[in-house]
Every structure is written in C-alpha cells, then in structure tokens.
C-alpha cells in the first residue's frame, strides 16, 4: 500500500537579510550539536545555553528545541550572523545558521494598492516596485524634493511624510495665495476663473489662459513619490520611507524659471538670497514640469551645481509628442518618457535621444468613460480651493509624463536607501543598466528619430535612441545597488501528497550583486531512520520519507562569487488517511518567490514559535501550478 503523508511546514530559517548589530538587536541562531557533544549531556536547553554563555562571554538564551540535537539560541546586542559565526566555532556544534525572519513578498496593505498597477509586476510596463520592496522600502534619511504647485499638507496619506517646504513664487499675481515668497508650501489651488481670464495683468504674465479647475498636481506627484505606505490607508508610494520636501514654484499658469531654479537650489541645501536655508537638503529633486526649447544656460549651470553636490535631478519628458522639453533635455538630468501599460510609447509623451528611461504615464484604453490605466495617487476634491482630500481613480484619472518622473525619482530614493554614497551619475547609470527591454508591436512603427515628425496621437515602438535605455525596473535597479553579500537559498516544496516522495526545488535560489547560483547541496539534518535524498548536489532533489516524523532538510547554495547561503525547512510528516490530490499546490521556504508561496513560510515561522502545525488542507492560498 502506498503511504500517503500529510505535510506540515513548521520551520523556516535562513538567509537574505543581513542586519547590522545594534544594542536593541536580538541574534537568533539555529544550532545543531554534534552527536558526541558534551553539551548534549545537559538535558535542559537552558543548561546548554548557560554553558555556551560562559564559553563565549555572551548572555545566551535557549529558544525552541527542534529535536534532541537542534535548537534555537538567542542573544541580545549581536546580529544573528555574528552569533552564528561565534557558535559555529565551537567544537560541539555541527552547524549554526542564522534563524532569519522571512516575509511574504512585500505587498503593502494600502487598500487602493490593488489599483496601482504601475507599481506591480503584471503589466509589461509596470515598474516592479513590489520586487524592489523585498530589498528596501526606503529610508527616512533620503529626502526627495518636488518642485511643483505645493502640496496638501493635511492629506492623511502624506502628512506624516512631508517636511516643511517653501513657496518660491515671486509674483503674487499667479501665486494664488495672495503673497510672494514665503515659508508656506501648501497648495491653495491653481484654478483659473472666468474673471482671471479677463485680468489684463494676469494674462500679460501668463499669456492666453482659459478657465480651469485646480490640478492638485503637487499632491499627486507627492503620492507617487512616497505616500505613506503599508499604513492601511489609501495608496502606496514608490518609496515608503523617503521624506518629501515640497517646493512651491508653480501657480495659476505655471511658474518662471527663476522661481523653479531658486527652489531647486534651496531644496539641495544651497543658499538663496532672502530665503532661510533648508534644514533638510534633498538628494533627489523631481521636476514634473517643463516647456519647449533647449536647455538654457541657467538650467545647465544650476543642474551642474546640484550634481556636484550629489543631488539627482529627475524630470518629465513632456507631453508635446515631440522633442523633449526643458529641463528634461539638460545634461545630467534623469529624463523620463511615458509609456502605455503595454510598454509602447504613449502618444502624448515627448521623446528623443535625451531620454534616460521610460515609465508608465497612464493611458485610458477604454471608451466606456473610465480610464483603465490611470496612475492612481493622492489628490484633493476641490474644484478651486481645497476641499476633501481624496485619491485619483479610473473616474478621476491621472495621466501624463508628470507621473512617470516621480516613479523614477522614487526608485532612485530606494537605491540611495541601500547605498547613500551613489552619485547622480551612478544612479542614472544603474537605473539605465537595470532597464527592461522595450517590447515591439509589429503593427506599429518605431518612434521616428526626428521627434518633430511624430503625430500627437501616434503610439510607436520605443527604441533606445528615442525612449531611453528601456522600461524602468525598480526591482532590478535596487538589486543592482544591493551589496554583494550572500546568495539567497530558497526551497520550494512541490506536491508532497501523492506518496512518500517529496520533491524539493532549489532553483528559486537567487544571487545578488551580479552573481549567479553555481551549485546546490542538499542535506538531511534530521530525519527518521531510512530516509534519504536523491541527487543531493542537484538544483532539485526528492526526499524519500520513510515514516512519519520530523524531517529537517537544508540547502546550501554557492554563487559565482563563491559566496554561500544555507536555508533549511522543517517538514512534519504524519501518516494520515488519503487526501485528494491537488497537483497545483506547493509550499516554500526562503525569501523571494511570490506571495502565495511565502504565505506558507510565514506560518512556518509561527510553527517555530510553538504554534500548532499548519494543516495543508486548511490553506486558503495556493501557489500557481508549475
């Protein structure tokens, strides 16, 4: 009779996060003692910990015992990695590995996140921010300035992220707030009334103007850069951690270079006559603004000054369907063009050789009245003056290269959170190097090499000479600046129900910093007598379970840089009545791999902490069929 087993995941240890020790840190290590270890003479784990404490000069605590020879040891003020290294040096210890916390793939709990297709990984042009968040969700030490219309400070999804900004609008005529430069960067609304259109002084300043409602443009840009995220409210931002510095320079009909440039310099921490210095200098400045023409010497001079100070300037290409506008066309700027959800250049986006990268700009492919691929973000419902804070959606759509640019700025912020030493040129280089290849629709032509010949409504296939290096890829860009530490071993448990042979797959193991996984080694750490592993040095193996019991299997991987990582998985196998076969089900350990898989891993950790084993049949989430 064929044995059938019910598999429970109980334990996941392992790899991936490498933390720096601090006084508040707790090191957690899984230790397996040698069969001959004197320590095993101590029946109580606490006694073993006490003996090890004496030897190592650390205050160790015993944690959960996994079997007679394997247990968790904890200590304060030391990293898991360092503690493992200290313990592994003991002659009694067969191995000691960090007992690391694993998470499901970073998915924020913001209720509107499901509509933020641009941050996810499904659509061709989506920026894969969810993958980047596995590596970093950003740091409050990184400040992103946005030179714009100001911001609604009272927006609940922004208020905690905003720094005191400044209003640089010199001319009270178009400022909208009745005054000139001042310390209030809030957005009073950039509406133009019918009477405004008849105001000779305003029209002299602005040129021809027509009646329009408030755009809340700065508030929209701010939400894309870094709305408060994973806070069960509204939307997620590209960088969850970055702080946002509003610099108001655009009023009723836009803003003058003099105010924009002054705002840029101030944002970077440079002095501007008559304005108090900025106490929170930005590393990144987003410019979702522009105009026609070449890069004026005033811009090139200020941008050069900022770049020399380590500040990255990110700018939107423009919506003219033609040549890239200024200041996106200035040297040293990360210029961002707009693409549709399918990666084809959106008709309105400007393009040309000055572009660095392309990102979603929003497009409304539906004639039902809804905008299917709006870039959802924070906004305000006021038609003129501020009213209730709200969010854009398919009905109050949000499109334009204005919203491509903050995605790239947010990605740069994530990169700086990992490596603050990156220069603007390095950021641009890494973002471009991590870009995904443009798709090509055979029904379309390539975007013309001369942007002045483009039709305003034409979509076209992007090339590297018209739309930059490729599609913005947050996950790849952040990975590209993540220091090469260790690879990440990952075990996927495949379809364990059919019989006593449990397939284990290590092909999901990954390497960072340019390495690739070169070898795999499987080991039975704990198992009932008679159990075995097939092909222990292959990427995948099969555990031949001999009987019910606890099976601990470890996987060690080595990458091309000769760095190694080890993970293990605890399989609780219980003889049970036959259960219906569900070949689409699998489970995993490790840190990457996809939300459904790691959902198991999370429960596995709960098992480690002493909770009841998880029944496979109770699982609500299933991994996709392989």
């Amino acid at each position: 009779m064929t044995l059938r087993f019910l598999l429970h995941l109980a334990l996941v240890c392992l790899c991936g996060l490498h933390l720096v020790a601090s006084a508040a840190e707790e090191g957690r290590v899984i230790v397996k003692y040698r069969a001959s270890a004197d320590l095993l003479k101590q029946a109580q784990s606490a006694d073993r910990a006490a003996k090890l404490s004496t030897r190592l000069g650390l205050s160790l605590r015993s944690g959960r015992r996994l079997d007679m020879r394997t247990e968790v040891i904890r200590a304060d003020g030391i990293s898991s990695r360092d503690l493992a290294a200290r313990l592994a040096g003991q002659s009694d210890v067969e191995f000691a590995v960090p007992d690391r916390l694993r998470h499901i793939r970073a998915v924020p709990n913001d209720p509107l996140y499901s509509g933020q297709w641009h941050l996810q990984s499904t659509e061709v042009a989506a920026i894969r921010a969810d993958g980047a968040w596995d590596l970093s969700t950003g740091s409050a030490g990184v400040v992103i300035a946005f030179v714009d219309t100001g911001v609604r400070y009272d927006h609940p999804d922004l208020t905690a992220k905003l720094l005191p900004g400044y209003d640089f609008i010199t001319d009270a005529l178009n400022a909208g707030d009745g005054d000139k430069r001042d310390s209030d960067a809030s957005d009073p609304g950039d509406y133009i009334t019918a009477s405004d259109t008849r105001d000779a002084r305003l029209t002299a300043l602005c040129g021809p103007i027509s009646r329009q409602g408030s755009s809340w443009h700065g508030t929209r840009v701010a939400g894309i850069l870094g709305a408060a995220s994973n806070n069960s409210t509204g939307v997620a931002g590209t960088s969850w951690g970055a702080r946002l510095l509003p610099v108001r320079a655009l009023g009723k009909c836009g803003g003058f270079d003099s105010d924009i440039l002054a705002g840029m310099r101030w944002a970077a921490g440079l002095s501007v006559p008559g304005v108090p210095d900025n106490a929170n200098p930005a590393r990144i400045i987003n410019l979702s603004l522009g105009g026609p023409g070449g890069c004026d010497v005033s811009y090139s001079s200020v941008i050069s000054e900022l770049t020399g100070k380590g500040v990255l300037v990110v700018a939107a290409a423009g919506n003219a369907s033609g040549p890239v506008g200024a200041p996106a066309n200035c040297p040293g700027v990360l210029a961002v063009a707009g693409v549709r959800q399918n990666g084809i250049k959106v008709g309105y986006s400007s393009f040309g050789p000055e572009i660095s990268i392309s990102a979603p700009a929003g497009n409304c492919v539906d004639s039902s009245g809804q905008c299917l691929f709006s870039i959802d973000t924070t906004s305000n419902s006021g038609a003129t003056v501020p009213a209730a804070n709200t969010y854009t959606d398919k009905n109050t759509s949000n499109v334009g290269t204005s919203f491509s640019s903050p995605m790239a700025a947010g990605v740069a912020a994530l990169m700086l959170s990992i490596n603050p030493g990156l220069s603007p040129a390095e950021l641009i280089s890494r973002i471009k190097g991590a870009a995904r290849t443009f798709p090509s629709d055979p029904a379309l032509t390539n975007c013309p090499s001369d942007p002045t010949k483009a039709s305003s409504t034409d979509q076209c296939n992007c090339t590297t000479s018209t739309c930059g290096a490729g599609l913005l890829d947050a996950a790849a860009a952040v990975a590209a600046v993540t220091p090469a530490t260790t690879p990440s071993a990952h075990i996927l448990v495949l379809d364990p129900l059919t019989n006593a042979s449990i397939r284990l797959d290590g092909r999901g193991s990954t390497a960072t910093g340019g390495g690739t996984i070169q070898s795999w080694h499987w080991q039975l750490v704990t198992a009932p007598a008679g159990a075995s592993l097939t092909a222990p040095d292959a990427a995948s193996t099969s555990l031949e379970a001999s009987s019910a019991g606890t099976y601990v299997v470890s996987l060690s991987v080595t990458d091309s840089l000769r760095a190694t990582d080890t993970t293990s998985i605890n399989l609780q196998v219980t003889a049970t009545a036959p259960a219906p076969t569900d070949p689409g089900t699998s489970a995993s350990s490790g840190g990457g791999g996809g939300g459904a898989l790691d959902f198991y891993a999370l429960f596995g950790l709960a098992g480690l902490l002493g909770l009841t084993y998880l029944s496979r049949r109770s699982q609500a989430q299933r991994a996709p069929a392989r």
Binding site: A262, P273, V297
Partner: protein
C-alpha cells in the same frame, strides 16, 4: 513690494536716469521681457545702483524680480517702442563685462492631463 518700489523711486529721484528705469515700475503689467542674468561676482541683485547700471547699459527699464543665487538674478525689462522685443537691450547686456550669461526667464507648466490619452 513696497520696499522695492521705494528703492526704485529713490533711484529715479537720486540718479535722474530718466524715464527708462522709472517706467519699469509698470513693466510687469505690460508683459515685460523677463530675463535671468548671471553675474561674474556675487551681487545684491536688487540694489538700486545695480538696477540703474543695468538700465543704463540696456537702455531699457529694469525691474528686479527675484534671486536664484548670489550671482543669478531675475529681472523684467521694459523696452522702448524702438526695441519692442528687447533684442537690443539684451544684446547690450550680453556685452557687459560683469555679466557671464543671460537667458530668458520662461514660464514652465506641469506635464499633467494631456487631452490625448
């Protein structure tokens, strides 16, 4: 604003440089040409003496608008009818030794909501 108007009035009264500088007080309302001037050395961009000198050099009314840095300042030019687009005034300023660069102070707009999704 009041302070600057007073300074300009003072310049007009004390230097008697004529109608060009004084007429600059109304330049903004007439769609003045806006420029950015980068000086070779740091200057007080709003100093009456500087405005007077710029006006003398350009032959236009000059009104201080804003500062970007200690060297880079924005001005509005109100040019005589014989130089309606201020081409001569700008060219005159370009050749001034104390001035490094001169560029237009243009209006920029957001890149939101194109009407061609």
């Amino acid at each position: 604003m009041i302070h600057r108007q007073m300074l300009l009035a003072l310049v007009c009264a004390s230097t008697l440089i004529g109608s060009a500088a004084c007429s600059s007080q109304t330049a903004a309302a007439k769609g003045a040409v806006r420029i950015l001037i980068e000086f070779r050395d740091p200057v007080d961009g709003a100093a009456p003496a500087l405005l007077a000198e710029l006006s003398r050099r350009s032959g236009a009314g000059v009104r201080y608008s804003a500062s970007v840095s200690e060297k880079l300042h924005a001005y509005e030019l109100a040019c005589p009818s014989t130089d309606a687009n201020c081409a001569s005034a700008i060219e005159n300023l370009r050749t001034t030794p104390a001035i490094v660069t001169l560029s237009a102070d243009q209006l920029r707009r957001t890149n939101q909501d194109p009407s061609k999704p």
